[in-house]
């Protein structure tokens, strides 16, 4: 149920994101007649401070938001996966050092760091992807490390090692298949976090010039006093879109985890099995 809802929402938003450039949508030139015009039959979501259609901007804005979210998550997973496998497989001092670095990055406040790095490095979508990626990898690394650590002690892996399998063979044939399903869960969480961080950075004006995304739409609505003009149609839609995409990501992660890690259920199953047993004994 949740899985279907999540996939539907994400699918629709991807279609919308692609339709922006495919249909050549354009919010039109500045139109002083329609500054903060209310929603109407012509402009379903009204117009913004420059009299341009909000709905079209919303569709165009989907692409940068999703692209940055996905790419930053990909960077995070790539770093996190590599570090996690390296730490979990190597054990010993390398594991310890990497673990400390992971813990550090888990604790460190990501958004202030991202603000500062993007501000010094210079705003821009490309920079944002890298910065968000290098700040969000640690959770993935932790999860992967734990899985690899337990995975390399499994009997069939030890057997492969005893038979003289190389590290490369063990990693690619035995460890990686154990790790990949986890990437689905932590990956969708990373996408959610990346989109939120991106929107916050854009709120601080760190998107660079000429970027039209959901985050910059919120920034402009805030900066150009949409609230004073009671122009709720400028600010509600982009926030709602972000909210929906991220909820979908969380639901995706939750349902994947339930499918992949049924042990999460064991604890409440105990109550239920106990209740079942009790009711079965009654008649």
């Amino acid at each position: 149920m949740k899985l279907k809802a999540a996939l539907t929402i994400l699918g629709l938003f991807f279609l919308a994101a692609l339709s922006g450039p495919l249909l050549g949508l354009d919010p039109g030139p500045i139109d002083v007649q329609h500054i903060f015009a209310a929603p109407s039959a012509q402009n379903w979501l009204g117009s913004d401070d420059a009299g341009r259609d909000v709905l079209i901007q919303l569709v165009i804005g989907a692409l940068p938001s999703l692209v940055v979210g996905l790419s930053a998550a990909a960077v995070a997973i790539l770093i996190g996966g590599t570090v996690g496998i390296l730490a979990g497989y190597s054990r010993g001092w390398l594991d310890l050092v990497l673990l400390r670095i992971m813990d550090y990055f888990i604790v460190v406040p990501a958004l202030p760091f991202a603000m500062v790095i993007t501000a010094i490095w210079g705003p821009g979508l490309g920079h944002m992807i890298v910065v968000i990626g290098i700040l969000l990898w640690s959770t993935t690394a932790r999860v992967v490390r734990a899985q690899v650590k337990s995975g390399r002690e499994r009997l069939y892996v030890q057997r492969a090692r005893a038979l003289g399998a190389s590290h490369f063979h063990i990693l690619t044939r035995h460890i990686l298949p154990q790790v990949l399903p986890l990437i689905g869960t932590t990956g969708s969480l990373a996408v959610a976090l990346a989109i939120l961080t991106q929107a916050a950075l854009e709120f601080f004006g760190l998107a660079g010039t000429g970027v039209l995304s959901w985050g910059t739409m919120i920034r402009f609505a805030f900066q150009r006093d949409a609230m004073l003009n009671d122009a709720w149609w400028v600010v509600i839609p982009p926030g709602l879109c972000i909210c929906l995409v991220i909820t979908a990501c969380y639901w995706l992660a939750q349902s994947l985890e339930q499918k992949l890690n049924p042990r999460l259920h064991t604890t409440d199953l105990r109550i239920r099995s106990f209740a079942l047993r009790a009711s079965a004994e009654k008649p």
Binding site: V107, V116, F222, C243
Partner: protein, 321 residues
């Protein structure tokens, strides 16, 4: 050495390592990344070579990197974070004053978030797999998914006619007795704190729910239920205390997100705290200020996590094994 003091020393060691890593990272971040402070200082766009050199000398930027690093550590040990490029006042003073504004607002917000999150999480766990649980979990997830700045704007749209939406106090207030000043401050604090609470409570709900759910399956809970104790007592004395360790850990781990949230909240509500100071420093390219604020924020987060480790040791002494 007992396992207890070994645990303590280990945790303190990790915190010290974290703080040192932050100092170092904070220093090199501002030196290694491209774009030098002088040429991007808004005050001197295309300033003459002489002016640039004078400024470089004034701020000690003409020394080699290691010399600067050593200077930085020595000055830091004396509590000196440098001089703000924009206000030309000591960064330490500015940061501490801003922190004084951030702490009450953030604490109020986080308190509301913990109260709402933990309560709703317990209810969701107790009523697990019912409609109530579904409603609570889904509402928590959806609100947690909303961008903080957007929640702020929504609250402004809804409450702008009833509550102040900008600043920490009314600059035109006449009354100067302590109670009206306090009332004014609290009034200004409501919307920022509420935004922060809304933006963060969802994770507490979900974690409390799963932590309590895990203890509900334990034998001692079944035993208490079998003895006929009321639900509230089983939850308060059996389920919740045993679920506290993961909850406290999460609350501490969320300190980073909370600080990030308050940076956004302070920018949205012009709250004169450390987040607002960071935003202003970015806009004005005031690097010492930015550096000092980031340093203080990170150290606070590391210390909060150390505190959580100590609290957890009290809650569950077995943790030291």
């Amino acid at each position: 050495m007992t396992s207890r003091s070994r645990y303590l020393l280990g945790k303190i060691g990790i915190a010290v390592f974290g703080i040192f890593a932050t100092l170092t990272l904070n220093f090199f971040l501002f030196r290694v990344l491209p774009g030098d402070a002088i040429s991007s200082m808004a005050r001197v766009p295309g300033g003459s070579v002489e002016l640039k050199e004078a400024l470089m000398r004034q701020f000690g930027l003409d020394k080699p990197l290691w010399g600067q690093y050593l200077d930085y550590l020595v000055q830091l040990a004396q509590g000196n974070l440098g001089v703000s490029y924009s206000s030309l006042r000591p960064v330490t003073d500015e940061v501490l004053r801003a922190l004084g504004n951030t702490v009450p607002m953030t604490l109020l917000g986080i308190l509301i978030a913990i109260l709402v999150g933990v309560t709703s999480g317990i209810i969701a766990a107790w009523k697990h797999d019912t409609a109530i649980d579904n409603v609570i979990s889904n509402i928590a997830t959806v609100i947690y998914s909303a961008p903080t700045q957007w929640i702020a704007i929504m609250l402004v749209l809804a409450f702008a006619s009833y509550l102040p939406v900008s600043g920490a106090s009314d600059p035109f207030a006449f009354a100067n007795d302590i109670w009206s000043i306090l009332a004014d401050r609290v009034k200004h604090m409501i919307l920022p704190s509420l935004t922060l609470a809304l933006a963060t409570f969802g994770q507490y709900t979900l974690v409390t729910r799963s932590a309590v759910l895990a203890t509900l399956g334990e034998d001692y809970v079944s035993a208490a239920k079998a003895q006929g104790y009321p639900v509230s007592r089983v939850l308060a004395y059996q389920a919740l205390p045993n679920a506290l360790v993961p909850i406290v850990t999460l609350i501490a781990l969320s300190a980073g997100t909370v600080i990030g949230g308050s940076v956004v909240v302070e920018t949205a509500f012009s709250w004169p705290g450390i987040g607002r100071a960071m935003y202003d420093a970015i806009v004005q390219r005031d690097y010492p200020m930015l550096q000092g604020a980031l340093l203080v924020v990170t150290i606070v987060v590391i210390l909060v996590n150390l505190l959580a480790d100590l609290v957890n040791m009290k809650l569950d002494p077995r943790i030291v094994e």
